[in-house]
Symmetry: C2
Subunit: 284 residues, 2 copies
């Protein structure tokens, strides 16, 4: 496994694979890797000739009040896990390799970020869209792998790819969970023991919502009230949002009556210092 910190050197190394028309699979990460990330690498390993993972805690997707400084890092463990999974190349840029001093160019989406996480994190998806576009331009992968946990992120990236004609295929991999159902996240490490115990309520409440939708309950507002009631059993929980929306546009659904298509049940809840997100999809 080779590691690169420098864009020019990485591009030089990748050139021969592009010439040989090898399929390059990209797994973009912010490091502190867990089984969720590893499932992306595993899927990429099956589908691509060359696997590039990137580890970059992207400042542009954090607001000043967020956890950029405290975001967990463990490069040694990350490299060990990636090597074990058969990753070929790891891209480990410093901030100034990605953002030059005069950096001023951002990718903005006008609709999708106006929902869900974008409401409390108004510059987040601009940062995601910009860094992912840069990684695509640097690495020129045929496929890129993202986890369903960040579902809105995947929609944003799919949309920018379509709108800007970026020649990359996006592969969404299922959420990987702990035995009790908590979605794996690097941010779970901030949880105290009590918060960790309560954090399962997020997934449990969403599953309850899925159950009620499948059972034919048509009143979305009632379902959301019930989901929030389950979460509020924890004294550590503070709901950012619970939303039931169109799984393609993210527009909220008022009533399931007559609705056909993909339904997204998504939530963001703070447990102590950790803001955790989770989601479930239902096809109606």
């Amino acid at each position: 496994m080779k590691t690169f910190e420098n864009i020019t050197e990485l591009r030089g190394f990748l050139k021969k694979f592009h010439k040989e028309d090898k399929t390059i699979g990209l797994v973009p990460t912010m490091g502190y890797l867990h089984e969720g990330h590893m499932s992306l690498v595993k899927t990429a390993r099956k589908e691509c000739d060359i696997i590039v993972a990137s580890i970059f805690v992207n400042p542009a997707q954090f607001a000043p009040n967020e956890d950029l400084e405290s975001y967990p890092r463990d490069l040694k463990k990350d490299l060990h896990l990636l090597e074990k999974e058969g990753c070929d190349i790891v891209f480990l840029p410093e901030n100034n390799e990605i953002y030059n001093n005069d950096f001023e160019t951002y990718i903005n989406l006008e609709k999708l970020p106006k929902h869900l996480c974008g409401l409390s994190r108004p510059t987040h998806f601009r940062g995601v869209a910009t860094v992912v576009t840069k990684l695509f331009n640097i690495i020129q992968p045929g496929k890129a792998y993202f986890g369903q946990k960040d579902y809105q992120q995947i929609l944003v990236i799919k949309k920018l790819i379509r709108d800007l004609n970026v020649p990359v295929k996006i592969i969404m991999c299922p959420i990987v969970r702990n035995d009790d159902g908590l979605a794996l996240s690097s941010r779970n490490m901030y949880l105290t023991k009590d918060e960790r115990k309560d954090a399962v309520l997020l997934h449990q409440s969403l599953l309850k919502g899925v159950e009620r939708i499948k059972a034919g309950n048509k009143e979305i507002n009632e379902i959301i009230v019930d989901i929030k009631a389950i979460i509020s059993q924890s004294q550590h929980a503070k709901v950012d949002y619970i939303s039931i929306s169109n799984g393609e546009t993210l527009k909220e659904i008022g009533s399931i009556k007559g609705y056909k298509g993909l339904v997204l049940l998504a939530g963001a809840v703070r447990f102590g210092k950790s803001r955790l997100i989770d989601n479930e999809l239902v096809e109606l």
Copy 2:
């Protein structure tokens, strides 16, 4: 010479040239071609294996009050000129091939568009940056050719390429002028006979400015007043701006005293319905 209206078909056709590692040169235009555009094709022809010209009057770079509807078109003549110059491929998309119904993704630069033409055309460079990024992603050229007349446009494109790691080299070609010095522009066709006669004042006034800078005149404000005085000899002229700025950042220069580097003298002036632009560069 082959023409394509469809992105997928164009990409399919270009695939073999990419595989053979041919250098593709892109000449993006809005049509109604003149010798200025042809000089771009000529230069590309010398430097590249395959020349793609695009003709697309990009709605995203026109504001509602601007001349999108009346922008001149003459496809038959354009194709004739391109074929004569040895262009290989012409991309002629309709609006809905470039902008899908739900289009929402734009490239924004935060600094360069806050000068010169960007002040009176605040969404113009967003439209330029977005469509050029799309053309680069669709065609994947090694080099792209732009005329110096749209100098700010070139800086914007060079900056977005650097910031977003787009693997394209930008080639700037000199301004092509009529015998009397008027820069060629598709918009010159809007000029009445009297306006056409007066329009040379824009270039003449900029040349006077160049002369004074080279002669060691250090007070920029005085030079600008003199340039504007020359232009106001025409009763048809209405100055949008005359600016003397740093040729890389576009920040206005107060005094040449101690200044080292590239100086841009640029102006936008309305003659009747035509908003004409021109510029000169001086290296100090």
